[in-house]
Amino acid sequence: MSDAKLLTPKTSIHTQSPRTKRRNAAETRFKVFGMIAISIGLLMLVALMGTILSKGIGAFQQSFITMEVELLEAKLDKKGNRNLSDIKKVTTFGYTPLIKNAFAKAVKDQGIETDLKTKDMAKMLSKSAAAQLRNVVIDNPQKIGQTIKFRFLANSRIDGYLKGRVSRESIANDKNVSVAQLDFADQLLKAGVLKKTFNIDFIIGADASDQRPEAAGIGVAMMGSLFMMLVVLGLSLPIGVAASIYLEEFAPKNWITDVIEVNISNLAAVPSIVFGILGLAVFINYMHLPQSAPLVGGLVLTLMTLPTIIISTRASLKSVPPSIRDAALGVGASKMQSVFHHVLPLAAPGILTGTIIGLGQALGETAPLLLIGMIGFIASNMPTTIGEGLLSPNSAMPAQIYEWAKRADPAFYERAWGGIIILLVFLVSMNTLAVILRRRFERRW
């Protein structure tokens, strides 16, 4: 009977032994730790997104002052012959008095009473107003002599007052704005002359100098980024895919290919600023490509993106099972036919995903652009042709954000956050596209 005694469990399986208890407790602890880690991560994400949105959303709105301006012939076209070269001789300084008088008249017409001097009133307008007026006149010389309705930007301090960034207390030592001007802004607001509305120019406009943050936009920098991405896509995708197909499918496995493989992995880990130095030395100093051009930026970022694309392409080529190749070869396809007709289409979703992620990285890259002159005050016009887009000086979105973040006027800071929102929208949509492509087309074996 001693055998039977051994087989009977000492305790019931319904009561846990101390050892089991310890094991279960360890598992519960681990789960809790995991959940804490995830919640910390989520909390950080929410905090980050919250900060970005709360600080940047203001950039999409701007304060405008509407008024009717009489385009005096005596000031703008003294000879009266509408000769464009004569009209162009009147600089923006010649337009400022027109705006000043128009503002004073608009205030009078609205029946707003104020002790503010006309000079101080005009200071509430953006410095871009004169340029805006001059551009309209140069584009339409026939309008000289007429009275036209204009919507001018209010200057950054007044705009900040409407957005709550500037208050009567905070301007105590400020020489650029007075309490009287803020009082006057309240009156204008009441009369409907001053209005805060959605500002499309922030999304499509060009950068502006330190004196007129209210006029700065990210649009031109966006085009710079777009053209760089075109170069990156056009060069790194074909080169990267061709290189990986050769390495993966055709190249003999020997020490040379091993060295190449190791070096590609090494290249992927090289800090991006190194590519910037290389770009300066090779593309600008040796090949004499223009400075600050998206073409050079694109070439530099291509170098940076290539390893990422090669590595992801090789991984997706590897994941196509050898049976596919064998079957193709078995029915008489050549090696090249088997690769291009069967392996490559099956690997395509993985390749595209890798490419999009590589592009996303390149889109957010700033450091290499510093050395090739794409960071600075670059207020080009919107490019009209592909050649111009590639060669005329331009910035890029992250470079523009960096540039804004370091300027003195706090109004630029708000724009930097606004720029981050736009950049994030691009990055998130690119990553979403990558996920969708993978989900829809990827085949698993």
Partner: protein, 349 residues
């Protein structure tokens, strides 16, 4: 499709290599001059048929280094500097073929000392800064490592606030002015200069004086003086997170951030464009830009840009630059005529 894309991209690259003519002025240099240069560049682009010049920053020394890289379209046309170009740099320029340089003085800029708006107010003298930040100070006639920990140690009239200063890094022109007009002054005033000079090494009196000056301006390295290599926004952020911090700023930057900063007086004078113009406020320096003469006529709009910059309506006392914080140069007319004549550096000395 891939082949076509590659081919077209390569074709564009090839075309631009062989025949690319730059049609915009390319500028780099001092981050103090950057706002002024971008204001001028913007107005220049608006009022002329030339494209808006590209203005990069990076510091006076970095800008002049790029300026001296050589002549040609792949080098910059204008270097902004918050100090005068050095002999050494002119020599370096000449070695690379950049011989004819036009110096343009645009005006003056004040350097101010400011701390958090809610912090203690200060009224400094150069001596206070020397005692607070120098590597070695005089104690009982002996030169010892700086023992001062709080501002009260420096000057009994100051509050017992920890010494924590954020000064511009050595690649900035501002640093040099800070050293020359504040630290060196303090060094001489406390008698440390003579003490150092007495034991300085060198063959000539001039060399000894130079060595002593160099020893004078060495700042302490125990973390109480922090070099800021970035822009003033970085200094502002440091002060924001460390309320004891005191930063060195340009006057224009301070005037844009009066809601966060309070400015200290220097030798009893409040910094302002007026007190700097009159010369009462001691810590100011001229701002310059340098034009490569060889590029005039090659790069369209270069001379026009230089002339536009120093025009009365831009750099004059009522112009937009003065409004932003530049102290107009009373001798602007001389500068205008020297730009018009393309007078090169060295010809009038």
């Amino acid at each position: 499709m891939y082949v076509k894309l590659t081919a077209s991209a390569l074709a564009i690259a090839a075309v631009s290599t062989t025949a690319f003519a730059r049609d915009q002025v390319q500028i780099a240099g001092s981050s103090t001059v950057l706002p002024y240069a971008s204001i001028v560049a913007e107005a220049f682009g608006e009022n002329f048929d030339f494209p808006t010049p590209v203005v990069e920053s990076g510091g006076s020394s970095a800008g002049l280094k790029r300026f001296c890289d050589g002549v040609g379209e792949n080098t910059i046309d204008v270097a902004n500097a918050s100090r005068k170009v050095k002999e050494k740099e002119i020599k370096k320029c000449a070695e690379n073929g950049v011989t004819d340089i036009i110096e343009v003085k645009i005006g003056y800029d004040g350097i101010v000392f400011a701390n958090d708006i809610n912090g203690n107010g200060f009224s400094y003298t150069p001596t206070d800064w020397f005692l607070a930040l120098s590597d070695k100070v005089m104690v009982d006639g002996e030169l010892v490592a700086n023992p001062n920990k709080t501002w009260a140690d420096v000057n009994v009239n100051f509050p017992a606030q920890d010494i924590q200063a954020f000064v511009p890094g050595t690649k900035h022109g501002t640093r040099e002015v800070f050293e020359d007009k504040v630290i060196l002054e303090g060094c001489e005033a406390t008698g440390a200069f003579e003490h150092i000079l007495a034991s300085a090494e060198g063959d000539t009196a001039k060399a000894r004086k130079k060595a002593a000056e160099k020893a004078c301006i060495a700042l302490r390295t125990d973390g109480r003086s922090v070099d800021i290599d970035g822009d003033y926004t970085e200094t502002l952020a440091r002060i924001d997170s460390n309320k004891d911090g005191i930063g060195v700023f340009g006057l224009a930057f301070y005037e844009n951030n009066t809601d966060k900063l309070q400015v200290a007086t220097m030798s009893g004078i409040v910094p302002s464009t007026e007190s700097i113009a009159s010369g009462e406020y001691p810590v100011s320096r001229p701002l310059f830009f340098y034009v490569k003469k060889a590029h005039i006529g090659v790069i369209p709009g270069l001379k026009e840009y230089a002339e536009f910059f120093v025009a009365e309506e831009i750099a004059g006392p009522d112009g937009p630059l003065a409004e932003y914080g530049l102290v107009a140069d009373p001798e602007l007319e001389n500068t205008q005529s020297s730009v018009a004549d393309e007078a090169i550096l060295g010809s009038n000395m």
